[in-house]
């Protein structure tokens, strides 16, 4: 019995039938044997017949990879509310290249001159402080590999079940993984000095529309950073250059981009983004304004909706798992629509609040298949079924969807969204 099943059975008393531990792995028959002597079997390719070209000061992907790009959608064809979805189906590992990192811009994309930018910390503090970018660059920096996920990621599964066939990129592309580096916000707040009664931090961006969010002070003191670097270079404009708030594990929207102001308060501000856009309607109809944590979640990226299996035989089932609470400690995969589960391999080291790559060898014998994955984190949170998830959220509530995803493989090898 797997760890997740053990826990589930303890909690629910339900029984599952478990397949024996035999591996799915079978020999791969793909590569061809070379029969002629190698001199003729391996003719010199064009690339060996002339010297190559110059190197660039800032490199680019191959021209043969030009179709690897984000999907960009704009509300009403305007630059204001813009989504870019990461192409998870074309990626392996856990890092998202910064050029392909998802983004949601509420009022368009801006590129701010760092010499003109100031961060203010004020409100319930002993002193109000202002920081230039070069001030902050002198501070000690901390960081690590973390995921960032829009709370609306996978919203079509929450809102329009059965409505449309959607690809992995459309359904899951609002998550990415990066190495984020910056200044501990706890340190800056200690420098400002917190006054009694300080309980919330209101973060405001310097975009048009000044996106603002309220965050409980104890979350800030945990592990919030003022992010200045992403994947080894300064933040890209689409990630809030010259600085953003970064809140590991919380819904992406609170990691306010183009950050200009942190107001320490005894109460939240109930901004538009927490009272409307990012509030959740719960199962009982109540509004929840600060459902900040992103739950434990996983998805199979290979094979996934929109792909086509070229033929029968061996495949590596591969996917991503993450939890806003801590580390992923188990992922299981089902190839029979959730009747039986196999333990997937986690490609470590596994980091907290980070994407984890899992895999399971598998042979497709040609029949129709329902592929699923489910993850558990080290707090014992288990990814719910759609039915279990639906109990917590009102019909039509589009945020914080983390239920188990089913990909349906038809007899021709086409992979589709089953739900």
């Amino acid at each position: 019995m797997t760890k997740i099943e053990e826990l589930k059975q303890k909690e629910t008393g339900r029984r599952h039938f478990i397949k024996s531990g035999a591996t799915f792995l079978t020999a791969i028959s793909a590569p061809a044997a070379v029969t002629a002597p190698l001199a003729s079997a391996a003719p010199l390719p064009d690339s060996m017949l002339k010297s190559g070209g110059n190197a660039d000061a800032y490199g680019s992907p191959s021209i043969y990879e030009k179709d690897v790009k984000r999907l960009v959608t704009q509300q009403n064809g305007m630059s204001t509310l813009t989504y870019t979805y990461a192409p998870l189906h074309q990626q392996k590992g856990t890092i998202t290249p910064s050029g392909l990192h998802f983004s949601v811009h509420h009022s368009g994309l801006t590129d701010i001159d760092p010499d003109t930018h100031t961060l203010y910390i004020h409100g319930l503090t002993e002193k109000a402080l202002k920081f230039s970018v070069s001030d902050l660059l002198r501070y000690p920096m901390v960081g690590g590999h973390k995921f960032l996920e829009c709370s609306g990621n996978t919203w079509p599964q929450a809102v329009f079940p059965n409505a449309e066939q959607k690809t992995l990129q459309e359904l899951y592309g609002l998550i990415s993984g990066s190495e984020w580096y910056g200044v501990s916000l706890r340190r800056l707040l200690e420098e400002a000095g917190l006054k009694p009664g300080a309980k919330w931090v209101i973060a405001e961006g310097s975009d048009a529309g000044s996106l603002a969010r309220s965050i409980p002070l104890e979350r800030i003191m945990d592990d919030a950073i003022i992010a200045l670097y992403q994947n080894g270079e300064r933040l890209r404009p689409s990630q809030g250059y010259p600085m953003r708030l970064f809140m590991p594990g919380l819904e992406g929207n609170v990691s306010v981009k183009w950050l200009r102001r942190l107001e320490i308060s005894d109460r939240p501000a109930y901004t538009q983004n927490e009272n409307r856009s990012y509030a959740d309607t719960l199962g009982d109809g109540q509004l929840q304004n600060f459902s900040l944590y992103m739950g434990v979640k996983s998805v199979i990226t290979h094979p996934s909706s929109g792909q086509q299996l070229p033929d029968k035989g061996y495949y590596e089932i591969s996917g991503l798992a993450w939890s806003g609470f801590g580390k992923v400690n188990a992922v299981e995969v089902s190839v029979d629509g959730g009747q039986t589960w196999q333990q997937a391999k986690l490609e470590g080291p596994v980091h907290s609040k980070s994407m984890t790559r899992f895999s399971l060898p598998w042979k497709w014998t040609g029949g129709s298949v329902e592929l699923q994955s489910r993850a558990m984190d080290d707090f014992g949170n288990i990814q719910p079924t759609h039915k279990e998830w639906r109990k917590s959220f009102y019909q039509g509530s589009p945020k914080h969807y983390n239920a188990i995803q089913t990909w349906y493989i038809d007899q021709q090898g086409g992979v589709n969204n089953a739900f």
Copy 2:
């Protein structure tokens, strides 16, 4: 006494005077207090006065970061032997963005159509095999965060001590860190079947000049991969698209780019790149052809040669450490030219054969300073002094230089290469 000192004393009987454990950390006085009410202190910036622009399908850095780029040098102004040096002084964390990853091209840069590319495995195998790119993409993949370093990195310190003031980028830019992902080569060799007598693997690239290297079979069986992905996307052309050999911890040149052929043999091929370009002349004048491992090494990236401290006060000393043998387990920093050492903080999690970021808070009081760092790995290897390193290598031998680096800070705050 620090770990490194303890080991050193055990080995050499030498004594070091150790500074007390008091931290260097002092208050930072950089941020200004806000005195006026915030409404006037925080006027609306331009970015808030109009909606932003459109998002791109493949994003770019800020226009204000256009000077963050690789240094490109070409031999005799031609594209053949080309070096690109990573701007380590402008990076934080441990990932190098793929566009800034160092490269050495012996015969120029080529971008190969993956549909025309074939990898052959032949020689002392039960059967010769050929793989298309799409064959390999179906295999299970493994990977992780690893460094790649040219064995000639820091060659000016080995060859021309005292000759020139060189920047960090010129001296240390031939190393980078990425998440590499690909197919285990052990698995492919097991599929081909190794014949008795198989001891070496000769890897050949499909560039003009067909760069080739011989690698002991046991190193291949350890952790070699056919790398297909780097930092979440397919390899860049400058990293050998559509595939390269990747040998964690070994000198960069053996991770053959544009890989087309692996020949299993009972002996090495003694190619030009192992008999001339990448052979080391040892202290006793003997030639060493296969000095493959990159030794334990560290360098302070902030502050570093070519930078200017703006004023007295607090700085974070920050740098990178790595070892081709395994994990870095300690880094120490000296601010007095190696007389006393302080334990630096390692920003974990620390990965094997990977770059590790270290840091130490420090206050510059205005005098001249000699900054140094030294690393130790979990095999007990300690980064040598220049004098210790020189004992092993002949004067003029430019490769595998890993001695302790000294940055000299003058009374005006200018940072220079001290050696």
